[in-house]
C-alpha cells in the first residue's frame, strides 16, 4: 500500500468513533438509555486488554475476549443497579462510572503503570510494514458489523420493541413486554461491544495512559451522534464524518497549519464541537439526517 501508516492510524481511530457513535445510537436513539459512560466501557476494554496482554502474558485473542467480557460484566452490574431509574439519574450514574474507571487507571499502578503508561501493545497481526493496515481492516470489518446490525435492527421486531420502550415504557409493560429485562440485555451487550472496540483500540494507541480515558471521548461521541441525527442508524456514521473526521483527519493531516498554531487546534476543535452541538440542538434538533422520516 502506498499510503503512509499515520493515515491508517487516523482512519482506525475514526472507525472506532463510528462504532461507538452507532452503538450509542442504538442505546439512546433506539432505546432511550442516556449513556454518558461510554469511555468507561471503552476504557475497561482498552486497559483490560493491555493489562492481560502485558502484565499477565495472555495471548492476543484471549485478551481481546476477556477484556470484552470484563466490560460486558461491568455493564451488566451497572445496568442492573441503575436502568430502572429516571434518565437523569442514569446519566449521572454512568458518568460517575466512567470517572471511576479513569481514576482506577491512575491509582492502580500495579496493574496499569498509572500515569507512566503501559506499553507497548503489538498489532493483532504481525504483517511487518502492513501491520497498521491489518489492524485497520479488522476494525473496518467490526465497524461494518455494528452498522449492519444497527440498520437491520430498525426493520426487526426487536427494534420495534426497543422503540416502544423508548416511547412509553409503562405502556410497553402494560402490553406485557418485560422492559427492564430487555433494557438490561441490550445495554449490557452494546456496552460490552464498546469494550470490544476499546480492546481493539489498544493496538492503535500502542501505549496506554490514563488521559486516553478522559470524558472527552464520551462527549465527542455524543456530539457526533446529535450532529448526525440520533434517530437514524447511520446518524453516528454521518456525525463522526462531519465532526471527528473533519478535524482529526482532513484538517490535521492535510491542512497546512503554521507550527505556532498547531497546539491550538485540539482546543479550537473542542470549542467548535461545543458550538456545533448548541447550534444543532437549537436549529436542527434531529441532526443532519433528522429531516428524513
Amino acid at each position: 500500500m502506498g499510503l503512509p501508516t499515520y493515515v491508517f492510524y487516523s482512519l482506525s481511530i475514526i472507525l472506532v468513533y463510528v462504532s461507538l457513535a452507532t452503538l450509542l445510537q442504538m442505546q439512546f436513539g433506539q432505546l432511550g438509555i442516556v449513556n454518558f459512560g461510554i469511555v468507561g466501557f471503552w476504557g475497561l476494554g482498552l486497559y483490560g486488554f493491555g493489562v492481560l496482554l502485558l502484565q499477565y502474558g495472555v495471548p492476543y485473542l484471549p485478551s481481546l475476549i476477556l477484556a470484552t467480557a470484563l466490560a460486558t460484566l461491568a455493564a451488566f452490574v451497572l445496568g442492573w443497579i441503575i436502568l430502572d431509574l429516571d434518565s437523569q439519574s442514569v446519566l449521572v450514574a454512568t458518568l460517575a462510572f466512567a470517572t471511576v474507571v479513569a481514576d482506577l487507571a491512575t491509582t492502580e499502578k500495579w496493574l496499569t503503570e498509572g500515569i507512566r503508561g503501559l506499553g507497548s501493545i503489538p498489532y493483532p497481526l504481525d504483517l511487518g510494514g502492513d501491520s497498521e493496515l491489518g489492524l485497520f481492516l479488522i476494525i473496518l470489518v467490526a465497524t461494518c458489523g455494528v452498522l449492519f446490525y444497527a440498520v437491520r435492527l430498525r426493520r426487526a421486531p426487536y427494534g420495534r420493541l426497543l422503540a416502544g420502550i423508548r416511547d412509553n415504557e409503562v405502556l410497553a409493560r402494560g402490553i406485557g413486554k418485560p422492559t427492564l429485562r430487555h433494557k438490561l440485555i441490550f445495554f449490557t451487550v452494546t456496552s460490552g461491544a464498546m469494550g470490544f472496540f476499546g480492546a481493539l483500540s489498544a493496538s492503535i494507541q500502542h501505549f496506554l495512559v490514563p488521559t486516553l480515558v478522559a470524558p472527552t471521548v464520551t462527549f465527542s461521541v455524543w456530539i457526533a451522534l446529535i450532529v448526525g441525527g440520533r434517530q437514524s442508524p447511520l446518524g453516528g456514521l454521518i456525525g463522526v464524518l462531519a465532526t471527528i473526521a473533519v478535524f482529526d483527519f482532513l484538517i490535521e493531516l492535510f491542512v497546512p497549519i503554521p507550527a505556532g498554531y498547531a497546539q491550538y487546534l485540539p482546543i479550537v476543535k473542542l470549542m467548535l464541537y461545543g458550538l456545533t452541538l448548541m447550534i444543532v440542538l437549537l436549529y436542527r434538533p434531529l441532526g443532519i439526517l433528522g429531516a428524513r422520516k
Partner: protein
C-alpha cells in the same frame, strides 16, 4: 353466573394518609361484562391500577383465577400480569409516538420468540403470520391512515383498545374506553367485546361515566364511592338503588 376470575380481599391503598381504596371483598368476572361506576375520586381507577399492579397495595390480596389455581397478582409485575392475561386500557391517552398504527399493533401481537437481540431477519415471517390479525382490526375499526400515526384522540384511544385486545386477554379492564370516541366507534367497541366475552370467555370490567354504555353493555354493575364498594347488582337494581341515587345519580351533571 360463573366462578369469579378475580377475587379482592381487604384491599387497601392510601396516599399521604388519605385512604383511596378500601375494599373488603369483591369478586370480579362472574359475568361477561361488568361495570364499575361511582363519583369522581371514588377510587375506581386506583382499583384497576392495584389489580394490574401498576401501583403497590398497602394491604390485602388480589387473586386471579381464584378457585382453580390462584395467582396472587400483587406478587407479579405489571408486564407479567399482562402476560397472565389481565390487561387494562388506559384512561389517559397513551401512545407509542414514533410507531405507526400498524407497527403499534404488530408490537402488541409480537410473541417473545421474535423479540430477540439476535433475531434480525424475522420481521417478514412475523408480518406474514400476524398480517391477517392486523388486517382484521384495521378493517373493523376504520383508521384514516393505518400506515401512518394515530392522529386524533379518538384514534389513539381505539389503538390503545386494539393493542390490549391483541393480547387476547382473559380479563380486560377498560378505564373510560369510550371517552373521545364517536357513537359508531363506541358501538363497534362494545359489539366486539360482547362477541369476545361470548365466544372466547373473556371477562370485562368497564369504568364509564357515560352511563348509557353501562346500562346497555353490562350484565352486572359495581357501585363505588369513597374507596368502598357500596353496592352491586344488575343494571336495573343499581339504577333504582337509593344510595346510588344520593351519592352519584343525583349529582348535578352526572
Amino acid at each position: 353466573m360463573q366462578e369469579p376470575k378475580i377475587q379482592l380481599s381487604n384491599v387497601r391503598k392510601a396516599y399521604g394518609g388519605r385512604t383511596v381504596v378500601d375494599v373488603e371483598n369483591l369478586a370480579l368476572g362472574r359475568h361477561g361484562i361488568e361495570g364499575l361506576i361511582g363519583p369522581n375520586g371514588a377510587g375506581k381507577s386506583t382499583l384497576m391500577s392495584l389489580i394490574t399492579h401498576k401501583v403497590n397495595l398497602d394491604h390485602g390480596s388480589i387473586v386471579f383465577n381464584a378457585g382453580t389455581e390462584g395467582v396472587v397478582l400483587s406478587e407479579w409485575s405489571l408486564d407479567e400480569i399482562a402476560r397472565l392475561g389481565v390487561v387494562r386500557t388506559n384512561q389517559i391517552i397513551q401512545d407509542f409516538e414514533s410507531l405507526s398504527i400498524v407497527d403499534s399493533i404488530l408490537l402488541s401481537l409480537a410473541p417473545p420468540r421474535y423479540e430477540k437481540l439476535y433475531s434480525l431477519f424475522s420481521d417478514e415471517q412475523m408480518q406474514r403470520e400476524m398480517r391477517p390479525a392486523v388486517e382484521e382490526y384495521l378493517s373493523y375499526f376504520q383508521f384514516s391512515d393505518p400506515a401512518g400515526h394515530a392522529l386524533s384522540a379518538g384514534e389513539k384511544k381505539l389503538l390503545d383498545i386494539i393493542r390490549c385486545l391483541a393480547l387476547k386477554p382473559k380479563f380486560l379492564l377498560m378505564d373510560e374506553p369510550t371517552t373521545g370516541l364517536h357513537q359508531d366507534q363506541t358501538d363497534r367497541v362494545l359489539e366486539l367485546i360482547r362477541r369476545l366475552t361470548r365466544d372466547d370467555g373473556m371477562s370485562v370490567l368497564i369504568i364509564e361515566h357515560d352511563l348509557d354504555v353501562i346500562w346497555n353493555a353490562c350484565e352486572h354493575v359495581h357501585f363505588m364511592a369513597e374507596g368502598q364498594i357500596m353496592t352491586q347488582g344488575s343494571p336495573a337494581e343499581i339504577r333504582g338503588n337509593s344510595t346510588v341515587e344520593i351519592k352519584y345519580l343525583g349529582e348535578p351533571g352526572a
